[in-house]
Symmetry: C2
């Protein structure tokens, strides 16, 4: 754990200059608007350790894989959302010396990410070129205009003498990924020009041998300042406008830079793309930084109105949930069904920046609760649109139907550890479950009876081919799988995977009864198929241990050396940073919920005793070394009335990045885990459930809190729930009247 | 299966020019003398598809690894026996045009590897530069002088006009590995010179970040010919002597090239190394190619006298076993305990050219039977000398004692698939078993009571830390292992591994009772340790299925979809070239014997019924896609009286490369599998066993053979065994009288 920012309800703020935590700072102050985003790196440049990164939604590169010993079915490339053109650069010289905080230690330093407004501001005093100046940088990535990034620089001369100030406003296409299997650059620059206020740079991803599309990214900048325009420059990979002036003692100057961005995802030709940039730059020309900022701030206000969670009496918890929602919404707000939510969003390179099952399992439930249903529906459409890739993945394994990928941009699997790619197939069940979850929450059957039925059918075809029948046990089984608990690989009969397989087949059979005849005709599920699916449903092997009344995570789990986490010396935690992979695999330690994940999915299907026995058993072995883990345990703890445990696990989830719990936030934020704190408050503390279309709450108030309040979207209504020491107050903010269940009693909302 | 060479008892010969099988031809005509070796590439160069390779025993490079997601315990480098200086080059021009069989299709083509003499000869007629010439190349790698390679070129002008012949005798240090993770070159050239008859080139492996030693290799060539010396040349990475002359119609000319080699393995400084080369070249100066060849041929005669196996009535089988013994002895003949037997020997790059458990499991039993015991003892010493590396490997996994590596040059693990490196730990048991095997065969306890006791103790310490106690089953277990059957990875309780673990501990406890007090004091095995080891011996879990009376290969094996290999469509075999890794892992198909391997090790410890039930069960699921597999099944089949099955499996093993069964001989030969044919004849067909120090035979004669005869070394005697249609004739070639058991009856040998 490492806390480098102050606790504040609406801000990520620090006045500490901490170059040793530069990467961590960059991660924490990332900005994005789902169309593009960047880490909070310094626009003036920094020669110390850093990780600059500007990312463009849906723009990726298929890096060539490297594996020890290639085997059939291994993916051919590893897709990566790549670091692209850095258009934020503002190189600053004072009396000929370059501003570089690695060389000139700042004073009066302040970093401040305003979560309410979506502005990242930075100010400090530095002595450069013999002069003492105060610098302020502001930056936003507009949620009102998806192509726009605004920057403002303010400089004041604090010294007694005049200072010569030079500012180069640069677009830099000479970028590298830290993560490149062959240390190759992924971009070619096609066009670069600079004149007066404007610079333009167009880059294109290099050709690849895999037949995936190349992407073109164009950026046009406009720089406005009272400094004098002194020249322009281009190199093979950069374009810049140069400004200069002399600051008298006490004098101040401002510079505004705005950048507009367009990519080949929206424009077929380079000409059309550049024309659009010219058009956009022209449209914005008359507006100041403040003019451009206003609709952006209004956009955030609207988001917060639908989704804010207020916690009184615990500023740390308050800051945690707001930071999480801010970064989650920055990553994805459902405006483009071609986009998705990658585990690091726009905040780093790790995980390749692609789509994981995290989206369906952890993010969808939150978007359902805080945003328009069309946003959630777009997440489902993303998978439907990638069915062709999912067929390929199944075929690569020699199997029928659709296998949705573990990691992807285009539907094709692009991760290359066999124990994950080939075996962590529960993801197919999670994607099926998301269809149920959407339908159950929204009551909208338009997806499940059309696109959803197709997705479910193809997933079911996969499951029916992937299971085998064990003559010895007279049961259907799934061998050689990896569950969500990746600390036990390549197991037989992972309870969670078997359960999802069985459930998917059951649900698909049920959906097939409801679809229209023309949909059914296209799906063409034969009676033989249905019989086989029903046979699997009726006869699936689900591990159960009678003595403990628990579901063993997999065959062999109970034969392990079952020592609790409490027995591990604290200097060996997290075990993934101290133990060999071998030792981890043999251990009983659970990376993230596997059985507990299944109990969460079907929380009403288990008896309180079953839930208690399983929670008590697994909690003692769970190391929560996936950021996705604590929040789900928190919900089950809350369900069982283990309030203190639920709150303890919430704290870990809510401030995972703020307190750098896993010591890896320097790589980027844990975006998909950020949903956990909302889920814990709403599903956990407030006990929100949807049962047969009816909304239920059964809240408790954490002891250390005075109150909490959240807003929830449900079937056309906006509902506000306040839980304080007096009790629970549910009110209807908008929408038709509704009867809900509060702690077991009906309540009319008007 | 693909047979490109003729069947001949003592030769690998073909008159077919087959450029499409160039790599296969190169593999098959490899030569070596354990100190150095090379593929049978063309010295004159070849611009078509080829894989040149010259390898120097014990000279390797730690290539940087690439893995998908690095985890603790993964090796940092992948050691490779690398392609080195090519000193064989003889570039030939006729009337200015270069000889290149990729461009001038030859006639009267013949390739001939003489197994009896160890000579690789090649001849052909080609039209080059408008002339028609006949070329003969001969090559040997001396087994009498480890530093020496001899070459002879004979050219005859078959045309009517005179032809201008130019020959450049080159040493080429500009070599690449095909297998290089980062496409890097591994060598720097330090020194190159050429003058008159002589050329010299010294290369050094590039610096590496892993602290492993760099190797220097020096080569000096002497070229003698009646052609005129017309010049010399050097480049940054080559040195050459140039010769030329005019061949009248019908005229002939010869050129002899001899090369001597020295490496930094034997000389500390570059100066000492070069001085040794000068000395060697001087010593050999007065001798012709034929003079140098004679002791080499005598050396092979002596090897064959000790080890030849004669088969009458089956030339294919005869050729198979001789080719195997030839290549095995070329790879290793025990003269240097720093060397070992890599799976591809000096015939290719695959498997990194390092030491595997193949040595102990498959090679040692053959060397025990056909060569001086000191050769086998050197194989054991190799592991003892690498104990320090084995400690490191165990520590990397967080375990005590010694874990011998899966793949190594220096004792440090250098393979990087976790399911193999971390988990295929049965190798530790195989290395322990080899100590028993040597002691049991030779009666020599000098190793086991000294170095062997240390190796056994450290392996036992590893096992005792690697097992865990299952409270549920009240048994010691080994979870997360991979047995010899690598088609089932990361399993729990692999029967073979558990058995070897238990056996090692038992054997070590027994050995510890016999060692001298001073040895025991150094080993310092505590009473607590001994008690724990005994507890594991007494209470190890060994899977057993009562219904079938078999040992299940691992937990879960019997739950698989148990369809026999016969059900796999033949166009899907071998499955590793047709099925995804996922499908293979889930299948019941056995790559190579796992339970059967254990039954072989302890063949007298199982009842005939146990052996039969297990063989019958596993044989139907075994695809033999490891070249190490069929021979062991053949021995068990022979033991059970399944004579036809034993012979069928022998055929597959004996001609694996000759008939290119696995369609991969182009990469190099399956050196360590070549022991299989000898084992099948001696242990299988002849039923050779050592029981309490007494030699037993129980032979049968394969139906299609007239007779077979082999020579065996045993405790100071050389014994000849002839099995023909009249029966078995055992005679003592040399050594003291001996009583053996022949088919259950005592027989005095005098």
């Amino acid at each position: 754990m490492k806390r480098t920012f102050d606790v504040a309800p609406w801000n990520i703020v620090t006045t500490k200059w901490a170059p040793e935590d530069k990467r961590l700072q960059e991660s924490m102050t990332s900005l994005a608007n789902e169309n593009l985003g960047m880490r909070g790196f310094f626009e003036e440049g920094y020669s110390g350790d850093k990780m600059e990164g500007v990312y463009y939604g849906g723009v990726w590169f298929p890096d060539k894989t490297r594996v020890g010993w290639w085997k059939i079915g291994y993916p051919k490339y590893f897709g990566k959302m790549i670091n692209g053109t850095n258009f934020l650069q503002l190189t600053i010289k004072v009396n000929g010396e370059q501003l570089d905080l690695a060389k000139q230690e700042p004073t009066d330093f302040k970093l401040d990410l305003d979560l309410k407004k979506g502005i990242f501001a930075r100010e400090f005093t530095a002595e450069v070129g013999g002069a003492k100046l105060h610098f302020t940088f502001e930056r936003f990535v507009s949620v009102a205009q998806k192509e726009l990034v605004g920057q403002r620089l303010h400089v004041k001369n604090l010294g007694d003498a005049e200072a010569k100030l030079e500012v180069a406003s640069v677009i830099n296409g000479d970028v590298y990924n830290e993560d490149s299997n062959y240390d190759e650059q992924f971009w070619d620059v096609l066009e670069q020009k600079a004149a007066g206020e404007h610079a333009l740079l167009v880059s294109k991803t290099k050709p690849n041998p895999f037949g995936t599309p190349q992407f073109t990214v164009g950026v046009k900048t406009t720089t406005k300042t009272t400094l004098e325009h002194v020249g322009d420059g281009t190199t093979a990979k950069t374009a810049e406008n140069d400004f200069a002036g002399t600051l008298a003692a006490g004098a101040e100057v401002e510079l505004e830079k705005r950048s507009v961005v367009a990519t080949s995802r929206d424009f077929d030709t380079q000409e059309a793309l550049v024309a659009r940039l010219d058009e956009l730059a022209g449209q914005l020309d008359g507006q100041s930084f403040d003019d451009l900022l206003a609709p952006h701030v209004a956009g955030w206000a609207e988001r917060w109105n639908k989704a804010d969670v207020e916690i009184n009496g615990d500023d740390e918890a308050q800051q945690g949930i707001r930071f999480n929602l801010f970064q989650l919404f920055s990553t994805y707000y459902g405006n483009d069904s071609r986009l998705n939510i990658s585990p690091k969003g726009f905040t780093g390179e790790k995980y390749g920046g692609a789509t994981y099952w995290d989206t369906e399992a952890y993010c969808l439930p939150v978007y359902l609760g805080v945003s328009d249903p069309k946003i959630s529906r777009n997440l489902l459409m993303y998978r439907y649109d990638q069915l062709d890739g999912a067929y390929v993945n199944a075929q690569e394994q020699g199997l029928k139907g659709a296998l949705f990928p573990m990691v992807t941009f285009n539907g094709i699997e692009c991760h290359n550890e066999w124990e994950i790619t080939f075996e962590e197939i529960h993801r197919n069940g999670d994607i099926a479950y998301a269809i149920y979850n959407y339908t159950n929450y929204t009551g909208d059957k338009s997806y499940v009876l059309h696109e959803g039925a197709k997705v479910l059918t193809e997933i079911s075809r996969f499951w029916a081919d992937r299971v085998h029948y064990s003559q010895r046990q007279n049961k259907y089984m799934l061998h050689a799988v990896t569950g969500p608990d990746e600390y036990d690989n390549n197991v037989n009969n992972d309870w969670y995977t078997n359960l999802l397989c069985q459930w998917t087949l059951k649900y698909t059979l049920q959906v097939l009864k409801e679809v229209d005849a023309d949909v059914a005709a296209k799906l063409n599920v034969t009676e033989d198929e249905k019989r086989k699916w029903q046979a699997i449903v009726d006869n699936m092997y689900l591990p159960y241990d009678k003595e403990r009344d628990i579901f063993p995570e997999n065959d062999g789990f109970l034969d392990k050396d079952l020592k609790p986490v409490a027995d591990i010396p604290s200097d060996q935690l997290p075990i993934n940073q101290h133990w060999s992979w071998d030792k981890i695999l043999r251990s009983p330690y659970v990376k993230q919920g596997d059985v507990i994940q299944g109990i969460w999915d079907f929380i009403d299907d288990f008896t309180p005793e079953e839930k208690k026995h399983n929670f008590d058993f697994y909690e003692q072995y769970t190391v929560h070394e996936s950021s996705l883990s604590p929040s789900i345990y928190s919900i089950i703890a809350a369900d069982l009335g283990y309030e203190d445990k639920a709150v303890e696990l919430y704290d870990r989830s809510a401030r995972l990045d703020l307190d750098n719990y896993n010591n890896d936030t320097s790589d980027g934020l844990h975006i998909t885990s950020m949903t956990g704190s909302w889920l814990d408050i709403v599903q956990g503390f407030a006990g929100m459930r949807i049962r047969e279309g009816k909304l239920h709450y059964a809240p408790f108030l954490p002891k250390k809190w005075d109150s909490y309040q959240f807003t929830q979207v449900f079937r056309g209504r906006v509902i506000k729930v306040l839980v304080d020491k007096e009790g629970t107050h549910v009110s209807l903010v908008s929408g038709e009247p509704l009867t809900i269940d509060l702690a077991g009693k009906d309540l009319e909302l008007k």
